[in-house]
């Protein structure tokens, strides 16, 4: 196939489970796993004559997320019924927001590998209820569990502003980071808390004119890997298809495909986009929602510094690399723990190294976050300061960190208990150096000879000083003194 010039165009539709305790319109508890149909009630299994009542927490979580996505918040919204017949939706309609979504016209800033960022526009954010879960078993039937039916689901729709599989993945990861920072979702991919549906096509330039390939929607992706790989697969598939058929985008030729994770290919599900006839109409069981300025201000107070802002601040203010800043802002607790330690006066790079090289390893072993290791940000700060002041060596700082986690003692206490404090007093060390030099005239001669033996002899003298001080001399200071004396 000849090389065609093309541009990838992707928009995303994302569904996020909100971390409320109960469902959107009834008090059934949201529990992952558990016996099928054990968290259901007349409301969520669609018995006639029941009355759904809105969960205030879900609405506030949704507005909080929309605010973080820089959306305009509607001061008036209502609930609509979206009709469709599937056994996992026993009412035969889904309660959703049709023409009045709670948030519109926002954007999300995503980090790119080069350390730059890109703004992806958000069309709308709205709240709806999730359906139950169909299990396709062997045999000519499906098994339905309605525990999930009625789970608050936030739908986020972006403009087609992404132009590479990596950008699509970056958006997915960034959104996970945001909802976790806000505390509105556990965003656990394994539990299906986030589902992605990219709309993908190409603009191909051939013989000076542009051709748009038919749009493909890939349904229900639930891992970052699948998001990235499915988009990359579609690029090649659509290029091949265009080369073969020359087919371009036209009304009604949008198709739906599924992702086969094992073979890493997309599979055709629906050839032609059926004109969906959802017959939306306002739900008479639910009254509208109005948000006044006071309520909105109250929700705004719950916003936090967004991860991308924090990442950028760590780079500009603390001079960290974008990579380090990205690692530290992976979750809010680590980021804030780090930030507090630095604000307590320690060097940012030192704290960063302590956390990423020792802290995260210990946290991993303990199965918790670095902020939950039982040490305070102030003690971490002190440990970093001791290391930078030369009171302890970098090697000792790791050992002390481990001991702090184990014993919950302060770093200076541990350092003196374990005899890890270094002597950095120049006057005191100079006396020891003088003693060593006086006792080893041969080595001194070699060290000042400028010949082959210089380096070795210097190392020997340094070793003697360390021995005399039982390893507690700060080797950097000793080295400086030796330099001065031997020059």
């Amino acid at each position: 196939m000849s090389e065609l010039e093309y541009k990838l165009v992707v928009g995303l539709e994302i569904h996020v489970h909100l971390a409320t305790r109960t469902k959107l319109f009834c008090g059934c508890e949201l529990v992952y796993g558990g016996e099928a149909n054990s968290r259901v009630c007349p409301v969520c299994i669609g018995m006639p004559g029941v009355l759904p009542v809105m969960n205030a927490q879900a609405y506030e979580f949704a507005v909080l997320t929309a605010l973080a996505l820089n959306c305009k918040i509607a001061n008036f919204t209502k609930w609509d019924r979206k009709s469709y017949y599937y056994p996992d939706l026993p009412k035969n309609y889904q309660i959703s927001q049709y023409d009045l979504p709670l948030g519109e016209a926002g954007y999300i800033e995503i980090p790119l590998e080069t350390g730059r960022t890109k703004k992806i526009r958000i069309i709308r954010v709205h709240l709806e209820e999730d359906a139950g879960k169909n299990t396709h078993t062997l045999g000519n039937f499906s098994a339905v569990d309605l525990n999930r039916a009625g789970t608050p689901l936030l739908e986020i729709v972006t403009e087609p502003d992404m132009n590479s599989p990596e950008e699509v993945r970056a958006l997915a990861v960034e959104l996970q980071r945001i909802v976790r920072y806000l505390g509105v979702s556990d965003a656990d991919m394994q539990k299906g808390h986030m589902r992605f549906e990219p709309n993908i096509n190409l603009t191909i330039t051939k013989a000076g004119s542009e051709h748009k390939t038919p749009i493909v929607e890939v349904k229900n992706l639930n891992s970052f890997r699948a998001v990235e790989k499915s988009v990359a697969f579609e690029v090649q598939r659509q290029l091949d298809e265009f080369a073969e058929t020359g087919l371009t985008m036209a009304s009604g030729n949008k198709s739906t495909r599924g992702w086969d994770d094992e073979n890493e290919v997309t599979i055709l599900q629906r050839e032609k986009e059926e004109a969906h006839d959802y017959r939306y109409f306002p739900d008479p069981d639910l009254v509208p929602v109005e948000i006044d300025a006071e309520w909105l201000d109250e929700i705004k107070l719950r916003l936090c510094e967004l991860p991308i802002e924090m990442q950028k601040r760590f780079v500009t203010e603390y001079k960290l690399s974008d990579y380090d800043a990205g690692v530290l802002t992976g979750d809010r607790f680590t980021a804030e723990f780090f930030d507090t330690a630095v604000k307590a006066g320690a060097d940012a790079k030192r704290v960063c190294n302590l956390l990423t090289q020792t802290g995260m390893k210990l946290a991993n072993e303990a199965g918790c976050n670095v902020a939950d290791l039982g040490i305070s940000a102030e003690d971490l700060s002190k440990l970093a300061k001791m290391t930078d002041a030369g009171d302890i060596s970098a090697t000792a700082s790791a050992a002390i960190f481990e001991e702090m986690v184990k014993t919950k003692k302060a770093p200076d206490v541990i350092a003196s208990e374990l005899n890890l404090l270094q002597k950095s007093d120049a006057g005191e060390l100079e006396a020891v150096v003088d003693e060593v030099l006086a006792a080893n005239p041969d080595a001194v001669a070699d060290a000042t000879s400028g010949g082959k033996k210089t380096k070795k002899a210097r190392g020997f003298l340094l070793g003697q000083v360390m021995q005399k001080t039982k390893g507690q001399a700060n080797p950097k200071i000793v080295s400086q003194i030796l330099d001065k004396k031997l020059s």
Binding site: T22, C41, V53, Y86, F141, L146, P284
Partner: protein, 102 residues
């Protein structure tokens, strides 16, 4: 006067409602539904240009509940009306195309 609802539209609506109609029924309902639409069409005589669409017939808003767990049905009760079950699942005809969560 209202346009007559043709038979293909009746078949479409029947399909959306998962109703299986005979040809006789399609013919009969097409006439009946056209008559109903014609009757309702009378409302089009009203000038509603300056009237805001109504979202709800009651002049109230913001009815919420706290995010507090209430008791669910026990699984046996939940499944009591199900024509068929398997273990504690509802058993339904095989779903070929899974559009859940759409």
């Amino acid at each position: 006067m209202a346009k007559k609802l043709d038979e293909s539209q009746v078949r479409h609506v029947a399909k959306l409602a998962r109703l299986d109609l005979t040809d006789d029924e399609v013919a009969r309902f097409s006439g009946q539904l056209s008559a109903i639409l014609g009757y309702v069409e009378k409302l089009n005589e009203l000038d509603t240009d300056s009237v805001e669409p109504l979202a709800h017939c009651l002049p109230i808003h913001n009815i919420f509940r706290e995010d507090v767990v209430t008791e669910s049905l026990d699984t046996e009760s939940a499944l009591k009306n199900a024509p068929q079950r398997i273990d504690s699942f509802f058993k339904v005809p095989k779903i070929l195309e899974d559009d859940s969560g759409e």
